[in-house]
Assembly symmetry: D2
Homo-oligomer: 92 residues x 4
């Protein structure tokens, strides 16, 4: 993925938190927690997965397609910035 070290650490942090959230679902189910609580926990997991997906797609655009902050071609830079904007709205 050739992420910068900083970006990689950030993504790994997200994934570990997500694993922690999955373990909370597991414990809630084992403890026979109320159904509504379990549904809320899984809804949070879903939100976190969408957020991770959005971040990975944004990183992919910046690193492997066009980084709007570094691109010399102004039209491409703008096109990539608009694309990142749509991805953020879509996957939050």
């Amino acid at each position: 993925m050739s992420h910068t070290t900083k970006e990689k650490a950030k993504l790994l942090g997200r994934i570990r938190r997500l694993k922690g959230q999955m373990e909370a679902v597991e414990r809630a189910l084992e403890a026979e927690a109320p159904c509504g609580d379990i549904l809320n926990l899984v809804a949070s997991v879903r939100g976190a997965v969408n957020g991770l997906m959005g971040e990975l797609i944004e990183d992919h655009i910046r690193m492997h397609v066009v980084d709007p902050d570094k691109e010399a071609d102004a039209e491409r830079a703008q096109g990539a910035a608009e694309l990142i904007d749509v991805v953020r709205k879509y996957l939050k």
Copy 2:
């Protein structure tokens, strides 16, 4: 949640598989796997979370609202069956 033991075992199996999928994402990121591969792994996690959410909602309808297979009131039974159908389509 007062799930039956069988249903509970099934859900726990799903959650453990999901944790395994998260660990695959973590390993891929640590190993700096190609970005496209990581995106595909996370897309699979997302599909699995949606599937789990759909199953939990269906269970909730059957156990805490109306179970179409056990309900005496025919209209309610049909209404619940249609609802489960929509949830399945929506969350697959």
Copy 3:
């Protein structure tokens, strides 16, 4: 659907607004509006369709399954209220 007249009027209002939004997308495309503008218009349509879907499912639960505000069985009423809550979170 046997909606109340009031509920029906509300849903028809939503659908007509949605048609209006689709026509705005059509005009923007015909006028060759900037791509980013068209994407934002379609993202709004998507949000409105999800909102309509959520409202229809909630109405379906109340009218054809269990209405938490009218149900005599307290457990069912609570189960239906939790279900409506999940649908709202999921489809906003």
Copy 4:
């Protein structure tokens, strides 16, 4: 949007079909069609909106960011192809 004429005609066709689907929902609601039928019609509208969104994003990538079929830089071409692939999977 500076679409080619052919692409524009294709998108307008999609939008007009979508308007037709919205009108079918409106008629079904006015005629008090069964709730399950209306839910299925709206679910189809939702699928069509997602499909339109996916096509617009793909067009945007090709026209304003990087077209994998025309890009001289092989890495960028591959990055854009992977991105289009993810968008297609995500928004179908």
